[in-house]
Symmetry: C2
Subunit: 267 residues, 2 copies
């Protein structure tokens, strides 16, 4: 049994065909936790090299239904890497100022600079998800956005920003358990809002909107990864491994030193 993390561009993605509890090989919570530690150590060094090189950037985009674990993934995957080379942006409800601009305006402003790893907790994809499910704007306005997003991402990739998009895929049943856990645990209850229940009623509409976003924006230059996320440890291990492999492929190098500097004595 196998389940790919990515599918070729053009594939019509049906989320029901992707098992949210899938585990590849004989991964266990213990071996995954160990792997995450290894990944963090490698990514930490590579992030330093990326920063020193100052030529390219990485953008990790995290999307998923409520409780899918965007915050938890960031906490596990990014903690331990020098925060000076990571920039995390959480996109919340847009401000009036942001709404007075095109939908990519606030996104563009948050793109990581050279040498940096940017992490988007939610992203421009909300503009074809929540906006569509809640009919916030007419269909003719959001339906062109898939192409606009692909063009925007292609431009970033051309500017040496490697884009890694992860959809944290959970089941409706798993979401119920996580919401209930938040309600039942007084220490976690602050995370809960009654709006979460209203959103949950729109589960099917969101899944359909995600399927379109994943299908239409799964490009060669910025493919989507579908991360089985019902098990937190497996989800974290996968994202952490993808980040590590991305950095390894970039293979950033500390810039060559100016030969004119050799032999200088500081007074």
């Amino acid at each position: 049994m196998s389940q790919p993390l990515t599918v070729p561009p053009g594939t019509n993605i049906q989320l029901s065909e992707f098992d949210t509890r899938f585990i590849s090989g004989d991964w266990t919570k213990k071996s995954a936790t160990k792997q995450i530690k290894k990944n963090t150590a490698v990514s930490r060094d590579l992030a330093y090299q990326l920063y020193a090189e100052n030529r390219r950037a990485v953008l990790l985009v995290l999307q998923g239904m409520d409780t899918a674990g965007k915050d938890g993934t960031i906490r596990t995957v990014v903690t331990g890497i020098n925060p000076q080379s990571c920039q995390i942006t959480s996109f919340k409800q847009p401000s009036h100022l942001e709404l007075d601009h095109d939908f990519l305006w606030r996104i563009h402003n948050a793109v990581p600079r050279r040498g940096e790893i940017g992490i988007f907790n939610r992203s421009h994809y909300e503009d074809v998800l929540i906006v569509r499910v809640h009919n916030l704007i007419p269909e003719e306005e959001w339906k062109t956005r898939y192409e606009r997003i692909n063009e925007f991402e292609e431009m970033l990739v051309e500017s040496k920003v490697t884009i890694v998009k992860c959809f944290l895929h959970i089941s409706k049943k798993e979401q119920r358990e996580r919401l209930q856990a938040r309600l039942d645990n007084p220490k976690k209850r602050w995370k809960f809002s009654t709006g979460d229940l209203a959103e949950r009623k729109l589960w099917d509409e969101y899944q359909a909107a995600y399927e379109d976003a994943l299908t239409l924006c799964n490009t060669r230059q910025a493919p989507w990864h579908i991360i089985p996320s019902d098990r937190k440890w497996y989800r974290n291990m996968l994202v952490s491994s993808i980040l590590r492999e991305t950095l390894e492929q970039l293979n950033p190098c500390v810039p060559a030193s100016d030969p004119g500097l050799e032999g200088i004595v500081v007074e």
Copy 2:
């Protein structure tokens, strides 16, 4: 023998009176490293609470001569805290756009939001340091800035931003050794620029400018800490302890949960 980290507002600060190699008590590299680990574990939990509470912020300002260790301090003190609750801003040479505004414009824009720990790698203090030493603007323009800075910081404190300012104090001899080490180590050489040597020649002018900034902006609401920084492990331990103590004093609390949420069953 003792040396305070802070002095009362109004004290005329003479840097020569502060030993850059001072160590309090019987701290060793080993015990300090252990302490940093403990501090990080405590600060990690408190940063989470601060984020959940979403009512107050912390701003850690790091200043110091070249090679004093601003980057290294951030790497050691902040790595291990969830990067989602830390926002690090490195202030470099201002852009044309930034120069077309008042000197606090870009600073204000980077102030941490509620729930966040902001770290400034350099800051608005450069506008009374490098600007003064290099005569970038006339004296009558920079000499009012000390008061403007105090007013700005007071406003932030009133808005529930706790400001922690650390001056990483190294000796001229220590700087020579660190610059030489960068030159002699091909892996570190990328950090070196010949401009560093020109800046070093202005050591005395910079120390005088720092003394004025430390003296005139050492307020009750936002005092300066003078961190003996010739030994990196001691410097890191001090800043890490100050951050931990700041968070402990804030004692952030997860918000009380809405009693209306009890007993809800998710469907």
